[in-house]
């Protein structure tokens, strides 16, 4: 029986229409609008799919860990509907979106508390912070290797084989378990639960821990401070070239580009 852990972050919907996206410059974070519920970070969904594909072919236990200030049950339990066996929620006022070290430490501690683990999967980077550090952080704290940017993940006995993306190709890396692997979207789109799967989620166990349950320090380590955050204004200063037909417009465009010496 293999134990696979998948770290999934609840984030502000990356596909939020711009008219709903506002930054609270005081709090230095985006405002979660009521109209647009949060979602699971897309790369993390790919990570879950990688775990489930391993589970499809060998007996595995998939635990999803999700960390945040306040998690929405409908959002995070969709991981259970997709096929995970258990959900562990790490919820605490201190668990802000941007604190890389605290996130990695809390998750690593939770993983140690859970006991056995062969493979830990994370998404390449979260859709809100876009940093891509937590996977490595967890590996560093647990003292295990981390292979980032996986296109494909295979678990074979006590070895993990990963196809890692390179700028112009890929390389196949092998490492003994336990290992952390961060996934790109190429490992596969997360399966969407149908009726049976959707209804079965309600029967699966959910555990909730806070910082005290984990026994970790949440104070400022000084490693990171957010000084400022704002959303750059969108100015529509685009010069639209007119014409009576598509062809005429296209010709005008070429002429213009030649005029400004860009071609």
């Amino acid at each position: 029986m293999k134990n696979i852990i998948v770290c999934m972050k609840q984030v502000l919907d990356p596909e939020i229409p711009l008219s709903l996206f506002h930054i609270d410059t005081e709090a230095r974070q985006a405002i979660q609008p009521k109209a647009m519920p949060p979602v699971l970070s897309p790369f993390d969904e790919n990570a879950l799919e990688a775990a489930l594909e391993i589970k499809d072919i060998q007996e595995s236990n998939v635990t999803v860990i999700s960390l945040g200030k306040k998690l929405t049950k409908a959002v995070v339990s969709s991981a259970l509907a997709a096929g995970a066996d258990r959900l562990v929620i790490l919820q605490d006022e201190a668990f802000g979106e941007f604190n890389t070290y605290l996130t990695a430490n809390a998750i690593a501690t939770a993983i140690k508390k859970l006991g056995q683990y062969d493979l830990i999967l994370c998404g390449l980077q979260a859709a809100d912070t876009n940093t891509g550090q937590v996977g490595t952080g967890i590996a560093s704290i647990l003292g295990i290797p981390c292979i980032t940017a996986a296109l494909k993940v295979e678990l074979d006995n006590d070895k993990v084989r990963v196809e890692k993306a390179l700028p112009d190709g890929y390389e196949v890396i092998e490492a003994p378990t336990p290992v952390v692997v961060t996934t790109t979207y190429e490992v596969g789109a997360l399966r969407e639960p149908g009726v049976e799967a959707f209804m079965s989620a309600a029967k699966k166990p959910i555990t909730t821990w806070n910082a005290r349950d984990l026994g970790i320090e949440t104070g400022n380590t000084g490693r990171f401070t957010m000084i400022k955050m704002d959303a750059p204004a969108h100015e529509s200063k685009c010069e639209i070239l007119e014409g009576s037909s598509s062809e005429e417009k296209a010709v005008k465009l070429v002429t213009k580009l030649k005029e400004i010496k860009v071609i």
């Binding site: 709903l20 979602v39 639960p193 009726v195 209804m199």
Partner: protein, 700 residues
């Protein structure tokens, strides 16, 4: 006298009569019993409500032959032929029951023969038999010479012999009627003038020189021949491939009384009830459809998927399922636990000796392909046109529900996932639900509950570029007319139609329950919407989940505004307009007049109809969740319909549905250069005619 009065080889005729009858009846009942047992294999479904209405409705539909006559058009008059054949044969059935059953069987022969009743009745029969024979000639010409598209199909030997057999039997029975009449009268006494043909034939026989005894013998022989043919038909009928004469009546009795096209909600706590592994996982009523199919092929020729080259034919679905039921049914009766795979792949992997491998066909894969299952646009043309009131579309949706049990199929995953996560199927939309309303001063119900009517915008109306203009047009009209309305704004969630039609029942119930709760909490009673899919779902599907509201389509609403003179257009606009009926407005809800009334409220508009309009309108291809699916096979359904519109030489194609609008705009784009036909929603046309500024809500 009575043919049964005589003795045959020492045995009284009565004995022979009843003995033969008993045998025939026995065989009949034996087979009929099996057929009914096969039906009972199906899942339960309650169709026993309003039995009196059901029965009288059936009589009204079948006796008037409305079932056949409703599909008659200038290209296909077969319905008329069937009607005459039916009326003629019904009269003959009555004839057999009275004159053979009561007459010969119970000994009322002497009273009946030469009675006034017989004279009148046989006179009618003489005409009826003639009409039936003409109908048969028509059948022969149609089937073997004209060979219409709807009758072309691959038939097995058993299926091929039915037609000629049936024609032969019917013609024989008609001929025998005249012969029995003629010889009977010739032998025993010819009545004056009526029945005309019988009497004329009898006179002819009299002059032929055959002895009275000879005539009597021939008469008796023909009578018994007739009787034996009838008994043979009785034995054969439930064994033939052509079961509709036996079962269409009951199928019409048990027809759908719920709103057209509405679907059964499924108990989500019991997902196994969705499973369609084997044919008996359909309900008994769905199985009854299979028997009731008349093989007319009408559904096949009106199906837009079929006409555009997709691997879907409602007729073939029904007939293959029927074959499958007859084939596997007996085994299923023996061992109800035999589970057979629904998907062809599983069958291929099965152990060679297992029951799995032994099944001749898998439901999904062999009988109907997955592509075929997804090709259906749920336009309801097949169900509308079926003389037996079959429900082909419902079976297809049931198959979709089965496919969506474990993980959602890839084909519709993105829009359905988006519906679960974001409450709408339009992934990638850059808009928020209230963006269209910017600057229009529209009430949002959450902030101001004082509204008379809720304007339900719908996902397409709020989030799809082209449709935003329609939403704005409707809102402007309502404002102009001084209607006190509000919108749900960001709280609005998909009505659930795509989820339901794509088989993701859990998502449908999730959003539907959410919406019903919203309506209740805001005390909403009256809803107006510009989308026929939302209209149909809110009006016809929500009640079964506990949500009952008054739902009005914008065409009805606007038509009403004009009727009450709240809106009036003074300036004439000379335009030729053709109106495309939306399936969900038309066939589903029989709303044909209001949109046309709206168009006619614009002075100067000349309305031209496409050849296929109203009940037999041609789908745009967007229903059944297909709006979000790729159309990779055959022709584009929307392009086919667009061509029909262009053929009318209209300047404008008017629609009343955002799906139709979107489909036709997309289709128009693929027609290189031809930008001559404008596609507009009726609301947009009214706004243009009223000259309300269109661009109030330009996004900066």
């Amino acid at each position: 006298m009575s043919p049964v009065a005589a003795n045959y080889l020492g045995i009284p005729g009565y004995v022979v009569f009843w003995f033969l009858f008993a045998i025939a009846l026995g065989f009949f009942i034996q087979r009929l019993y099996l057929l009914i047992r096969l039906l009972k294999l199906g899942r339960p479904e309650n169709r026993s409500d309003r039995l009196f209405y059901r029965f009288t409705s059936m009589l009204a539909i079948t006796l008037t032959q409305w079932c056949s006559l409703k599909s008659v058009n200038h290209k296909d008059l077969a319905g008329i032929g069937h009607a005459f054949m039916f009326w003629g044969l019904i009269l003959f059935v009555i004839n057999y029951l009275i004159f053979i059953g009561l007459g010969a069987g119970i000994g009322l022969f002497t009273i009946l023969s030469s009675s006034a009743f017989e004279t009148v009745f046989f006179s009618i029969l003489d005409v009826a038999a003639l009409l039936v024979i003409l109908a048969m000639i028509w059948v022969i010409i149609k089937r073997y010479f004209i060979k219409p598209e709807r009758l072309k199909r691959k038939e097995s030997i058993g299926e091929k012999i039915i037609q000629p057999l049936l024609i032969t039997v019917i013609v024989s029975l008609m001929a025998l009627h005249y012969c029995i009449e003629g010889f009977g009268y010739a032998a025993y006494g010819i009545p004056d003038s009526w029945p005309f043909i019988g009497v004329s034939f009898a006179h002819f026989l009299n002059g032929s020189g055959i002895s009275q005894d000879g005539l009597a013998t021939v008469y008796r022989s023909l009578w018994w021949l007739n009787y034996i043919i009838l008994l043979g038909a009785l034995v054969y009928a439930p064994r033939s491939k052509h079961l509709h004469p036996l079962f269409s009546f009951s199928n019409i009795v048990f027809k759908n009384l719920a709103p057209k096209g509405s679907l059964r909600p499924i108990d989500l706590q019991k997902p196994e009830t969705f499973r369609i592994s084997e044919v008996n996982d359909f309900t008994w009523k769905e199985l009854l459809d299979l028997y009731a199919c008349t093989w007319c092929g009408m559904c096949h020729t009106v199906c837009p998927a079929q006409l555009s080259g997709k691997p879907l034919s409602p007729r073939e679905l029904i007939l293959s399922l029927k074959e499958h039921l007859l084939e596997t049914g007996p085994d299923l009766l023996k061992d109800k636990t035999v589970t057979v795979p629904a998907v062809a792949d599983e069958k291929a992997d099965a152990e060679p000796d297992s029951a799995l491998a032994k099944t001749s066909k898998a439901l999904i894969g062999d009988i109907i392909s997955e592509d075929g299952i997804w090709a259906c646009t749920t336009c309801l043309a097949c169900q509308e046109v079926c003389p037996s009131h079959n429900e082909q579309m419902v079976k297809i949706i049931d198959l979709r529900r089965h496919l969506q049990l474990g993980a959602l199929t890839e084909i519709a995953r993105e829009p359905l996932k988006n519906l679960r996560v974001r409450g709408h199927p339009w992934r990638g939309s850059m808009y928020a639900r209230t963006d269209w309303a910017e600057g229009l001063g529209i009430k949002i119900v959450e902030q101001d509950r004082d509204v008379d009517i809720l304007y339900w915008v719908g996902c397409t109306g709020a989030l799809e570029d082209r449709s935003l203009k329609v939403t704005q047009a409707v809102a402007k009209l309502m404002k102009q007319a001084g209607v006190n309305f509000g919108i749900l704004g960001e709280e609005e969630m998909c009505c659930g139609d795509p989820a339901r039609r794509l088989g993701a029942e859990h998502l449908f119930q999730m959003v539907a329950m959410n919406n019903i709760q919203l309506f209740s909490s805001y005390c909403i009673k009256k809803i107006v919407t510009a989308c026929p899919h939302c209209f149909n779902t809110l009006k016809n599907e929500y009640p079964r989940l506990g949500g009952q509201f008054e739902v009005i389509h914008h065409s009805q609403f606007i038509a009403d505004l004009f009727k009450r003179n709240t809106l009036k257009i003074n300036q004439a606009r000379e335009t030729v307009v053709t109106y495309h009926d939306s399936c969900y407005l038309g066939r589903y809800n029989d709303i044909y007049k209001p949109p046309r009334q709206v168009l006619k409220s614009i002075p100067g508009v000349r309305l031209v109809e496409m050849e296929q309009n109203r009940k037999n309108c041609f789908c745009c291809g967007g229903g059944g969740g297909r709006m979000w699916l790729e159309e990779n096979t055959g022709q584009r359904i929307s392009e086919m319909r667009l061509s029909q519109a262009i053929d009318t030489r209209a300047q404008v194609m008017a629609t009343a549905c955002p799906f139709c609008l979107q489909m036709f705009e997309d289709a128009a784009k693929t027609r290189e250069g031809e930008e001559s036909l404008k596609i507009r929603d009726i609301a947009e046309l009214i706004v243009e005619a009223l000259e309300i500024p269109r661009d109030l809500a330009d996004k900066a």
